[in-house]
Amino acid sequence: MDCIKNDKQGVEILTDYCAGAANPEVAAEISAHILTCAECKALVDAQRKVWEMLDAWAPAEVSPDFDSRLYARIAQEQTGPAWRRWWSRLTQPATPYAWWKPAVSMAVAGAIVSFALITRLPERTAPVQPTASIAHLTAGTPQAGADQVDLQQVEQALDDLDVVAPANQVPSAPGSSQAPSRL
């Protein structure tokens, strides 16, 4: 095999080997290789020594009252008001919540909406909402005349409907006691 120091995966192989996590075939290859390669042997020895030294740091003993304190805290929380439990869950999530992700999404969405409003809104609103002063200025134009004619025609049509409607009601309600006043 190639020297560990020259291998792209050398660090991983070395770490796994010294941790006993390398697969048996790779471990056997390394064991054989370090018998003939002084540099790789030095690397492995150095890594092993680090691991052995780290073993000197013995684990701490857990206090005997650890569980009782924990259960007391749980009980205290369970008996507290519901809003406090809800607030604790919100502000102290079990795993860190990336608040910046939805914030960035919302900011981008807001920017897009703002851009669309700024660039498109004036084109649509100008012809739809003419101001009083513009209507006054354009009163003498042919277009204004056409608008006036249209309004007169509509009013006339409504008047005609008022005249015709009572006449139409007579045959539709022959048994009705309320006769149309105009008849």
């Binding site: 770490t15 048996p24 890594q47 691991w51 780290l54 079990a94």
Partner: protein
């Protein structure tokens, strides 16, 4: 020597490796099952989870923050958050990964808060603890005890001097035997980033602890 470290010239057989893997899978599934039962209101399952993971979590936090009182306080917070999240727990990720993600998050927050005075207090406290434990375990003479004490202090300082994420990665890799995948999920980074963190951390430790070898 670490229990994970093979004896020179003796490599684990493929069969024993498979058995270990199967045992590990079974243990992980057991954790997830216990947590699902906790979600359903089974308090005994929570007690079992606490029994199984109390020491690893406290030890990890102890090595991260280097203060016994703080590590226990943070460990309590870890299990409190686990209990609090029981209703929303989904066994999508491995329980241990989730547990150490919570623990790492709390430890890093505590370290970033910069509570230097507590850390300094812990150094003298640990000296006493280490000496007492050593005397009780192996009955060494005074000189050996002092040498061991100095060695442990050097190791603690070397680990403490590592950047936070390197420290967390080394502690999970060395003492909790978590693989790259678990560590990457606990730290919220990629596996290649974990390998890089571990490489730099072990390089630093090799150079800092060379005089003790």
């Amino acid at each position: 020597m670490s229990p994970l470290q093979p004896s020179p010239g003796v490599q684990p057989s493929a069969e024993s490796g498979v058995n270990q893997d199967m045992e590990a899978v079974a243990a992980l599934e057991r954790d997830a099952q216990l947590m699902v039962r906790v979600r359903e209101g089974d308090e005994v399952s929570f007690a079992l989870l606490l029994e199984r993971h109390r020491s690893p979590v406290v030890n990890f936090l102890h090595r991260m923050v280097q203060n016994r009182a703080v590590s226990e306080e943070l460990a309590q917070e870890v299990f409190l958050r686990v209990y609090r999240s029981r209703e929303t727990y989904e066994p999508t990720a491995k329980f241990t990964t989730w547990l150490f993600r919570i623990a790492t998050h709390l430890a890093l927050n505590w370290i970033r808060d910069g509570q230097k005075e507590k850390r300094n207090e812990s150094l003298s406290e640990e000296l006493i603890e280490g000496a007492e434990r050593q005397v009780a375990d192996r009955q060494p003479n005074v000189e050996q005890s002092m040498l061991q004490e100095v060695k442990v202090q050097e190791i603690r300082r070397a680990i403490e001097a590592l950047p936070e994420k390197q420290r967390a990665a080394v502690l999970m890799h060395k003492y909790q035997s978590l693989d790259y995948s678990h560590i990457s999920k606990a730290l919220g980074c990629t596996e290649s980033a974990v390998k890089s963190l571990l490489f730099r951390a072990y390089e630093t430790l090799r150079s800092r602890l060379a005089h003790l070898a």
